[in-house]
Amino acid sequence: MFDDPQSYLWLIPFLPLLGSAIIAVFGKKFLRGWSHVPCIVGAVAACGLSVLAMTAVQSGHDNVVWRSLTWFQAGDVDVKLSLRLDALTAVMLVTVTFIGSWIAIYASSYMHGDPGYHRFFAAVSLFLASMTGLVLANNFIVLYACWEGVGLCSYLLVGFWFAKPSAAAAARKAFLVTRLGDIGLFLGILILWSISGYSLEYDVVFRLAAAPEHRDLLAWACVFLFLGAVGKSAQFPLHVWLPDAMEGPSPVSALIHAATMVTAGVYLVARCTPLFQLVPDVQAYVAVTGAFTALLAGTIALTQTDLKRVLAYSTVSQLGYMFLALGSGLMYKNLAAYAVAAAIFHLVTHAFFKALLFLGAGSVMHAMGDVIDMRRFSGLRKVLPTTHWTFLIGSAALAGFPLLSGFWSKDEILAVVHGASSDNPHAAIYFFCFLAAMVTAGMTAFYTFRAYFMTFWGPEKIPQEAYSHHHGHADHDDHAHDHHGHGHGNHHAAPTHASAEPAKSHFESGEVMLWPLRVLAVGALLVGIVLGPTHLFFDFLQNHWMKTSVGFVDPKVTLEVHHNIPIMVGSVLFGLAGIGLAYLAYVKRPSLAAELKNSAKFLYHWSLNKFYLDELFYALFVQPLAGLAQMLRMVDHYLVDGLVDAVAQIPVVFARAARPIQNGLVQFYAVLMALGLAGLLIAILLR
């Protein structure tokens, strides 16, 4: 049964979906503290099948299409629930399910004791199902459906603590802002549908939409598709939802930022490379958006004091890198294949270290009694030893420290952009993008290590909440223990809950939370060096996706991996300079940070307040729309309701005339009946 991927492909999204359904139905009443089991089992099983699918792709099943179900049919439109498997899908699947599994395991301890435990895991499982469905889809409608499913789950999870007004607002913002992008995606799909002879299958679209006479419409379609990606992957100007999405629980942040959700946009553009590479103007637009977002988010991240917000802006920035790479996939220079591979490579390495960083931040938050403001704790490297060294690995990987995973993928992207910045009409644009990417690399290193040093170095400072939190937590646990019997052996083995113990290590999270950190740290260390310089990743994508997929213009060109030594050295220097500056300003001479702040007060405030973009959008869009809504409310209230009320008065007038005959005398009614009958008879007789 496992020889042919067709036989188990559908199980990959189905198993998490089933897990979600089981938790949703039985979670509240029966599973309760065991609600994580179906979610983890579903995710791990999906991960196993994904690895199996990847080996199948490697052994030649690299253009598998599974289409056994018709979803709906109307006239010429025949939409099938079809799935496809190629190298791109396999890579995405393994990344999503692997990271997702570890996040689910981590969350089973992190969310322990939350009243919404079952709700959380039902949503996480559904999230994984949507995301795997999204990358497996073989036509745009299935992709769109899963895309919306991902949006829905992000809404449910960001607003998980919906009783908190800020969480509810963040969830609404995430949903509405990504919805703006979704409109673009839908318009793009409609344009593609019309120019490809009313088909939505990838292969047909890529073949027919490439016809030269459709080039203008195709450009618009690509712009709209990219708009969808901008919303989902939080690029400027729709990036504003992602930092606010930190209101959700930390595992959700990890899930959204690393494995699911934000990678959907990158995947979409990568999947549509055959279309994008035909319209270089749009590609330049993609690249500029990516570079600008990377620079903007990096600048904002420099001054944030909320640990998770620093990481959130760094995600926005790194996604900008990926789009910059995707936008640099120019056909002139046979860069397309290489650029896409670099973007996907960065997506994979980023998934590892960003999930690691978010889970580490969650571990800090868990230990510090839900305090996440970096000014309120410091010097935690002795208090949280395991969290400390895993966080350090994650930070180094993100900062592009040599030989760690972020270094390899970031270097590929810089090489691609540099390659694009000559011999083409947009060369100047790409050159500026390249400069922006280099500067961003330095800033990334600085803000990452700023966060690291502020959290783990300096004098040891633990906020008061940490103590009370642990006390309360232990109480709660005893309580839970009475109810659930022996159900939570492994949670109780964790030192976190032994509140009586005076040792400092009791702040450290439990083993269930530390193992995902260790595993992801190993990933962040090794993924880059195993897959990058060995060309494993690039060959895999090229041989089993680009060469076999329809519409790639230059699939035959071999990927010459541009290990551009000057660029490599340059980016490393930028990175090390950033790390050194952070060390200087936050460990060696803490006064330096304040001096810098004072000397560039204006810039500092712009960065701290996110360039006032939220306020700008509020004034430009939210308030006019609120005014319009208020006006329409008036129209509805006075005009529409008034008309309806006026019509409703007509029967009242008639009723007033007929009211006296209801006088309550039975005989009177009988007389009226008799007279009426007589009148009817007379009328019939005289007719």
């Binding site: 209801q662 006088n663 309550g664 005989q667 009988a670 008799a674």
Partner: protein, 141 residues
């Protein structure tokens, strides 16, 4: 058998119906009204039977069977309802229920005064219980 003409039966039926209707419209005692309604039903039944007999068609008789059944059910329900109404107002006069009219309509009052109702005589009970001891009768003969 068919010596009497159809009209005779119809006249009897019509008379019964009209008598019932007059009774229904003029009396206020709910039981009398109910009986009048039954009378109307019987008038209709005779009408149907007569037509059935003279036209040699059994449909009319079938309908009469239905009327009998319905009348029986109706008697059960109507009497039960009359009982309930009587219990709540302690009178069988249907005009006391005219307060179920529309709130804005004025009540219709009977201009004739009520006849004074003679108090019911106290019931005479047959003696019961242990018979008191009587002096033993002895014969003096």
């Amino acid at each position: 058998m068919s010596s009497l003409a159809l009209e005779n039966y119809l006249i009897v039926g019509a008379l019964l119906f009209v008598l019932g209707m007059i009774g229904f419209l003029t009396r206020r005692n709910m039981i009398i009204m109910f009986l009048s309604a039954e009378l109307m039903l019987q008038g209709v039944s005779i009408n149907l039977l007569a037509f059935s007999r003279f036209r040699g068609h059994l449909g009319g008789q079938a309908l009469v069977m239905f009327i009998l059944t319905v009348a029986a059910c109706e008697a059960a329900i109507a009497l039960a309802m009359i009982l309930v109404l009587y219990r709540s107002r302690r009178t069988l006069d249907v005009s006391v229920w005219q307060d179920l009219r529309e709130p804005t309509v004025d009540p219709i009052l009977d201009p004739e005064p009520d006849l004074p109702i003679a108090p019911a005589p106290m019931p005479k009970l047959t003696p019961s219980g242990v018979e008191p001891k009587q002096p033993h009768e002895t014969s003096h003969v």
